[in-house]
């Protein structure tokens, strides 16, 4: 299986290329499969080549679709990367929220951190996408990034007792994101998995 096939998978199901020829699948299912493969491919190509080198041609090739099919799904490359980012961010925050249910205080912070790292460790490409800096000119990606950090900061604010306006938690989450980016690009999943205890100490300490 290629790295692209494992890089992003809603619900844990790796996106696979459909069999060639007549497969009898409804058009909506074909479109959805293509879209998922394209966002997975964008995540994988970004991890390998970075924002400076990624191209529509390479993403489409990795996804096993034509470039004309790419443009049926996305207006341009950045629409595709944004979709990959937003899908990944949604998975991350949903996983953390689910893990935090029924817990409070330090236990809540620890449960959220463990859930986030458990999701990202086997998917270092997704970790790099969510934690790395987008190009300064990619305004929509920065907006999506701010939205993700604000959601994570809000969760941390709750776990830390909800005092103050949340600025401290936003700064802490930004720092944690930078640390994840460093470890994700410097050794992948193993380095991320090792961050659980240090991050629990760094994020919860008042």
């Amino acid at each position: 299986m290629t790295e692209a096939a494992t890089a992003w998978a809603p619900g844990g199901t790796p996106p696979r290329r459909l069999p060639p020829g007549r497969h009898g699948l409804p058009p909506e299912q074909v479109r959805e499969s293509q879209r998922r493969r394209l966002t997975a491919a964008a995540t994988a190509v970004l991890a390998e080549r970075g924002y400076g080198q990624i191209t529509v041609t390479e993403v489409a090739k990795r996804a096993g679709v034509s470039t004309s099919s790419f443009y049926k799904h996305f207006g341009d490359l950045w629409d595709c990367v944004l979709a990959a980012y937003e899908e990944g961010a949604e998975r991350l925050t949903a996983g953390i929220e689910a893990a935090c249910g029924g817990t409070e205080g330090r236990d809540r912070a620890r449960a959220g951190i463990e859930a986030g790292l458990t999701l990202l460790a086997p998917e270092p490409a997704l970790a790099q996408l969510l934690s790395g800096d987008p190009p300064s000119q990619a305004g929509a990606l920065w907006t999506a990034r701010r939205s993700l950090l604000a959601r994570l900061a809000s969760m941390l604010h709750h776990a830390r007792g909800g005092q103050g306006g949340g600025e401290r938690e936003l700064q802490l989450i930004a720092a944690a994101t930078a640390l994840v980016s460093l470890k994700a690009s410097d050794g992948g999943g193993k380095r991320l998995a090792d961050l659980g205890q240090p991050l629990a100490d760094l994020l919860h300490a008042p």
Binding site: G50, Q171, A175, A205
Partner: protein
């Protein structure tokens, strides 16, 4: 690997060649303004006003030029910050001095700061490796404060890298938002963020208030001018 042209071989690694230095500065300024991905060598040439052949005498590619320019400027900036911190006397004063120097740099040269703080991730390769090395280096410098704490009160491992990354993340976010005027507003919270893991909440609060007072003075001086 092909051999360097004679002139490029001579100037490789030299920062004192004015043409080479101008090209590197133009590369960073163009990358910060337009985005590294969008920058072509032509736009770098337009900025520094020299001849095309000069670029190729000094650099093999846009990628090489950015990576060398990045390393040169990051090393220079890091040295300035560490020097400012050491001259201040103790860790907390040093941190104030270094952060203010960093904010002044970002305020005065936002396009170069954007290249240093954001576009290295986009360029990847040597620039990204240098960025990571620099965060580790600054993290070690910050962690010198651990020696002043009792062993049982020392902050957790990775605190220095966490704090250094947090500073870079704050500035990167503000610079990406394109609002240098808004840059300074986050200084008090950042001072608290930096101080708290090493010296506790009370000291962090003092630094936050000191930064607020500094900003009030700064605004007053700006209004008086």
């Amino acid at each position: 690997m092909h051999e360097l042209p004679a002139r490029r071989a001579e100037s490789a690694g030299r920062d004192d060649d004015p043409t080479r230095a101008e090209i590197m500065e133009a590369m960073l300024a163009a990358s910060g303004e337009l985005g590294y991905r969008e920058v072509a060598v032509r736009q770098v040439l337009e900025r520094y006003g020299g001849h095309r052949v000069q670029f190729w005498q000094h650099f093999a590619s846009k990628e090489e030029c950015f990576a060398i320019a990045y390393a040169t400027w990051v090393d220079r900036l890091t040295t300035e910050l560490v020097t400012a911190a050491l001259a201040a006397g103790d860790w907390r004063r040093g941190m104030r001095a270094a952060l203010i120097a960093l904010f002044e740099f970002a305020d005065e040269r936002p396009e170069v700061a954007r290249a240093l703080l954001i576009e290295a991730d986009v360029a990847g390769g040597g620039a990204l490796a240098k960025r990571e090395e620099t965060i580790e280096r600054l993290g070690e410098a910050l962690d010198s404060a651990r020696e002043q704490a009792e062993p049982e009160e020392r902050p957790p491992p990775l605190t220095g890298v966490f704090v250094a990354g947090g500073i870079a993340a704050y500035l990167g976010e503000r610079l990406a938002a394109g609002s240098p005027a808004d840059l300074w507003s986050g200084l008090p919270e950042l001072m608290r963020f930096v101080t708290e893991p090493y010296f506790g909440e009370a000291a962090a609060r003092e630094e936050l208030e000191a930064a607020r007072a500094f900003l009030a003075d700064r605004r007053g001086e700006g209004a008086a001018r």
